[in-house]
């Protein structure tokens, strides 16, 4: 059964989505356990695939029994095995969290909500493991559609935001489709590795169709990823969405799009083409730098807790895009590791925001008033996430920043290093502002020994299904930080095969 694992990762959420759609209408309570079961199954399948990839290198799983260029195939190597494992684990954690969130916010649409939730995860997983460019478009469309719907189920502000998201998302996806069309025109094949071979065989580097195809694909992916100049739709899209939707989309959707970009740059176009022939990667690094700075400053200006976090995502996207376009091996390793560590960090912080919202019903930053005493567990979870976002040593965030800065220095883009440091400082200010309010209480009280008014007495610790995922994520962040050697070695031997020149 294990050699079927690649497809099982996808099948579990997919089939259960349909079962939930059919059965869920009648019995609402059955939805949640089903969702959990399916996601646990897909976590198992992705882990098995990861182990097989480590042992036997890249796996190629032919769908429908046809050999690659004719039929579609899954091509799983170090990179997407790791990303698949991250996606499934994050999905499982959010599923556990979602029980109270979904029931409290859209009580009568529980079965629809969970179907879309599972389809979103199936779409993302499909995008991660597929080896076929057009298939990636179809799955991209599925995850986009489900995310529009998940957003639109929130309050009215979320519906308006999801409308904007729909328009921008469709433009992004259509650009990607156009780009694939251009590639198909010149190479005649849709399978990623095949396209790459064709590009080299008929040495098409010169032709401007490939160049435009490359631009279209990268721009399309950037729009979906909310990279700086094209990020307008992200902030209020995630801020007003139902808590569970923002908790699942925050960490995953942008990260998978970054994975798609890396896959395109490395496997399809090849680093030689993407970095040397085009050689405007320095411009992109500058774009990323502006993105990081803008994201951080944007976050500073926000009062609403979740909107602040969405601006942080924009800054993180800037990290990763900058890391990739440094055209340097350590930078690339750093950005891939950042995908994994950042998915968990953002998840931890979004879960925290979700718990605060369900508990206090308030969105703004002062909602955290004096919570150190009342919700110590949640606060500890939040602390680990915040430290990791700032980059305090033992956490994963520190190590990903460590590689990124190293890459920056190697490739001589000093502005990138400065931007990274600046944004970690801004993160520090942001999170300590929250910790301070949590520690003291919103209103500064005079006098020597201030005991807070205990009007918040009724707020007790979040329910188990909410706090457990938060603490689990915090543990994973710490674990990633300490045991990052193994993960990095997997990434290393994935990146080394493209023998990126270490620093131009």
């Amino acid at each position: 059964m294990t050699e079927q694992a690649p497809v099982l990762i996808l099948l579990f959420p997919f089939l259960t989505a349909i079962v939930v759609a059919l059965v869920g209408i009648r019995i609402k309570t059955v939805c949640w356990p089903l969702v959990l079961l399916s996601l646990a199954g897909s976590v198992w399948a992705s882990l098995v695939t990861l182990v097989r990839v480590i042992e036997s290198g890249t796996i190629s799983y032919k769908l429908g029994g046809w050999d690659p260029p004719m039929g579609i195939e899954f091509r799983i190597d170090g990179l997407n095995a790791l990303v698949a494992v991250t996606v499934t684990i994050v999905a499982l954690l959010v599923a556990i969290y979602s029980r109270d969130g979904v029931i409290s916010e859209n009580k009568n649409k529980v079965s629809q909500y969970y179907t879309l939730f599972l389809l979103l995860i199936a779409g993302l997983l499909g995008m991660v493991i597929t080896g076929d460019a057009f298939n990636l478009y179809v799955l991209l469309e599925i995850s986009a559609l489900t995310s529009y719907a998940l957003l639109a189920m929130g309050n009215i502000r979320a519906t308006l935001a999801s409308y904007k998201y729909l328009i921008m998302g469709t433009i992004g996806a259509s650009f990607y489709l156009l780009g694939v069309g251009y590639l198909y025109m010149k190479t005649g094949s849709l399978n990623m590795v095949d396209i790459h071979e064709q590009l080299i065989v008929n040495h098409l580097d010169g032709s401007s169709t490939i160049l435009v195809g490359f631009i279209l694909i990268t721009v399309g992916v950037w729009i979906k990823m909310a990279f700086f100049p094209l990020h307008a739709w992200l902030p209020n899209a995630y801020a007003y969405a139902p808590t569970t939707s923002s908790a699942i989309m925050g960490p995953l959707v942008t990260k998978v799009m970054i994975y798609v970009m890396i896959r395109m740059v490395l496997t399809v176009f090849g680093p030689v083409y993407a970095f040397e022939v085009l050689n405007w990667d320095n411009i992109i690094v500058w774009l990323a730098v502006i993105g990081i700075v803008a994201g951080s400053i944007g976050a500073l200006a926000q009062k609403d807790l979740r909107k602040m976090l969405t601006f942080l995502i924009i800054a993180e996207v800037g990290y990763m895009v900058g890391g990739v376009w440094l055209a340097d091996e350590t930078g690339m390793v750093g950005s891939i590791f950042h995908i994994i560590s950042d998915a968990f960090m953002t998840l931890c912080v979004f879960l925290f925001a979700g718990i605060i919202y369900t508990k206090t019903g308030r969105r703004d930053i002062n909602a955290v008033d004096g919570l150190f005493k009342k919700m110590p567990l949640t606060m500890i979870g939040f602390l680990v996430g915040a430290f990791s976002l700032i980059g305090i040593p033992p956490t994963a965030g520190f190590f990903s920043k460590w590689y990124l800065i190293q890459g920056g220095i190697n490739s001589g883009n000093w502005e990138y290093v400065v931007a990274l440091l600046f944004s970690s400082l801004v993160n520090a200010v942001l999170f300590f502002r929250i910790i301070e309010i949590a520690h003291f209480g919103a209103k500064p009280v005079e006098g020597h020994d201030a005991h807070h008014g205990d009007d918040h007495a009724k707020i007790s610790e979040g329910s188990f299904t909410q706090v457990f995922p938060l603490l689990a994520t915090a543990a994973i962040i710490l674990g990633l930080g300490i045991f990052n050697k193994e993960i990095v070695s997997i990434i290393q031997d994935f990146v080394s095969q493209f023998n990126l020149v270490a620093g131009i």
């Binding site: 057009f134 409308y163 328009i167 996806a173």
Partner: protein, 186 residues
């Protein structure tokens, strides 16, 4: 002259670019929500036109085998040579595609033979049925476009549903008015 000939030769690509620009313009700058959706569908049809125009071949028919060809397969060479000859006459005028033809035919030869051995168990009567790939339009883009059309429908449907909900809430379809209402409400 060369430019004109260039445009004439790729006429449908020009249309595709113009259509795409109209669609994009509408999507971005139009204020009314429904107009944005219309812009979006124009944009998607432009892409479909682009894909279909890739697969076009000079003088090729739709990618479905004729009735006779299917049964023709039963009596092997006779029917194939007869149809090929008929087509040869007609194609001799397009000297440009001659080399493509020659090269394409040996392709078919090579594909057919290689395919032949691995299908050892396949039925004898099908045998090495000779189908000249240049006679038929390339089916792959058509398949891709089926998917793109369906995706277009789906996005349109969700878009309309959202607009309806917004209309129910704000009573207007003009984005500017909606934004004002939000600002005033906040």
């Amino acid at each position: 002259m060369e430019l004109l000939e260039g445009i004439a030769d790729r006429f449908n690509y020009w249309i595709y670019v113009i259509l795409m620009m109209i669609g994009l313009f509408a999507m971005i700058s139009k204020n009314n929500l429904i107009k944005k959706l219309i812009g979006m569908s124009i944009f998607q049809t432009a892409i479909i036109l682009f894909y279909v125009s890739i697969s076009y071949k000079e003088g090729a028919t739709i990618p479905i085998l004729y009735h006779d060809q299917v049964h023709g397969a039963h009596h092997e060479e006779a029917s194939v040579t007869e149809t090929a000859a008929h087509h040869d006459a007609e194609q001799v005028a397009h000297e440009a595609s001659a080399d493509v033809h020659a090269e394409a035919s040996d392709h078919a030869e090579h594909a057919a033979s290689s395919d032949h051995d691995d299908h050892a168990v396949s039925h004898e009567d099908h045998g090495s049925l000779e189908i000249d790939p240049d006679l038929f339009v390339n089916p792959l883009p058509h398949v891709l476009m089926l998917t793109a059309i369906v995706v277009g429908v789906a996005t349109l449907g969700v878009g309309l549903a959202i607009t309806q909900k917004l209309y129910g809430e704000f009573g207007t379809l003009e984005e500017s008015e909606i934004l004002e209402q939000i600002k005033s409400a906040k």
